[in-house]
Amino acid sequence: MDLPADLPAENAADMADDSAWDGEERAEARKETLHLEIDGWEGPLDLLLDLARRQKVDLRRISILELVDAYLTYVEEAEALRLELAADYLVMAAWLAYLKSALLLPKEEQPDPSPEELAMRLQLRLQRLGAMREAAARLMGRDRLGRDVFARGAPEGLRVERKALWQCSWYDLVRAYGDVKVRSQPVVHMVRERMVMTLDSAIARVASMLGVSLDWMELRDFLPPAQEAWANPQLRRSALASSFVAVLELARTGKAEIAQEETFGPLRLKALRP
């Protein structure tokens, strides 16, 4: 890994801050450099981290008391200048003041959790924030795609051509054929197949029977006997109708004579000899 090499300048300075430094100059340096930039800090922890860095020692070895003093001085100066400080700065100040007094107490009078424990936690939080701030700087300083390294400027692109995989089931197929058949059958009025006596056979039958008899006969006597196939009432009606039309035809051609004495009465006929 090429980490330290590509660190940006600002971060390199941070790294230097963390290295050991002569403690004698610390107080002086702080006084000179402490500046009140109310908008410059991202919250009290940010300010504390900056103050800790001014101690110019590894964050693990900062003096908490010194840090607390620096923070309290900052807050006092801000108040003296009548600068509006956010509430969380003041809360932090109050807590740090408490921490300081607890740290200064003799060991046996110290509350629980111990101020050392609290100081360590504060230190850990500063370290964590410091680590992330440094990591962010290192990350930003890397060779970044689109800034330092570049992807292909004009890639042809990969194309995915969608091809239909046709689906059809056996049922769909057979059903479709059935539908076609149903739809395409010619529309014919199909009378259910029925047994009838055709006109031709009725004429033949009546004519031959007339030839045998010389007397008047009732039309119904010309019908076939009502047994077996001819027992069917529908067929009998058909035979009656056909025979009637046959008699009319024979009368028209002068081969038979028809007589009916009353309305709906029996229809009688006999052969007409030329």
Binding site: F150, A151, R152, G153, A154, E156, G157, L158, R159, V160, E161, R162, K163, A164, L165, W166, Q167, C168, S169, W170, Y171, D172, L173, V174, R175, A176, Y177, G178, D179, V180, K181, V182, R183, S184
Partner: protein, 205 residues
């Protein structure tokens, strides 16, 4: 590798348009890039990409013989339309059959595209021409058709009498059938049990 050659390579790679030698040179402190271009061109010879000059402009492109790899086909299941299913059924029951005959049987005109879909699906093929005036193209089913529908031969298709017995020649309430038999259009689990052809195909996809 020479630094100038590397720089030319990177410049052409990152460029959004083909570049002339002069343009590359302007990028790289007016260096003479022609030898580098020649070297690179030779370097890439026989690789998957190559450096080409077109109208004095240079660019990288993928090797032409690999073009087919850059287009991938993706198969997506699609249900055959109703019209296409009918045409397919008519071809299966009446093959070989001309388009005019299909239309006569269906009682409606059949779009050319419908037969194309069936041929694309691999189920219908052109089976020659009928030796009648106009020599119409005739269509028949393919072995893939039999495979898809799990048929040994076309004789296994149910005859008219069987269709009638199964109620398939009765006018039906389409909606009812749709709802009753296939709530999910593509869910093969709702298919009739002897519909292996369908499932086999899906596995292949």
């Amino acid at each position: 590798m020479d630094d100038l050659v590397r720089a030319v390579e990177a410049t052409l790679f990152a460029a959004e348009q083909p570049l002339t030698a002069e343009q590359i040179s302007a990028h790289l402190g007016q260096a003479d890039v022609r030898p580098a271009l020649a070297e690179l061109k030779a370097d890439y010879d026989g690789r998957g990409i190559r450096l080409v000059e077109r109208g004095r402009r240079w660019h990288f492109e993928t090797a032409p013989d690999l073009a087919h790899l850059l287009r991938r086909e993706k198969e997506e299941p699609r249900r055959l339309s109703r019209a296409a299913t009918e045409v397919l059924a008519i071809v299966a029951y009446h093959e070989p059959v001309s388009r005019a005959e299909i239309e006569a049987i269906r009682g409606v005109q059949t779009a050319k595209g419908t037969l194309d879909v069936l041929m694309e699906a691999g189920w219908v093929r052109v089976a020659g021409r009928r030796e009648v005036p106009g020599r119409p193209v005739i269509y028949a089913t393919t072995p893939d058709f039999l495979a898809h529908f799990g048929l040994e031969s076309l004789k296994e298709l149910p005859g008219i009498d069987e269709l009638r017995a199964a109620g398939l020649l009765d006018p039906v309430d389409e909606e009812m059938i749709e709802t009753a038999l296939r709530p999910e259009p593509l869910d093969t689990s709702d298919e009739p049990p002897d519909d292996d052809g369908d499932e086999d195909t899906e596995d292949e996809a």
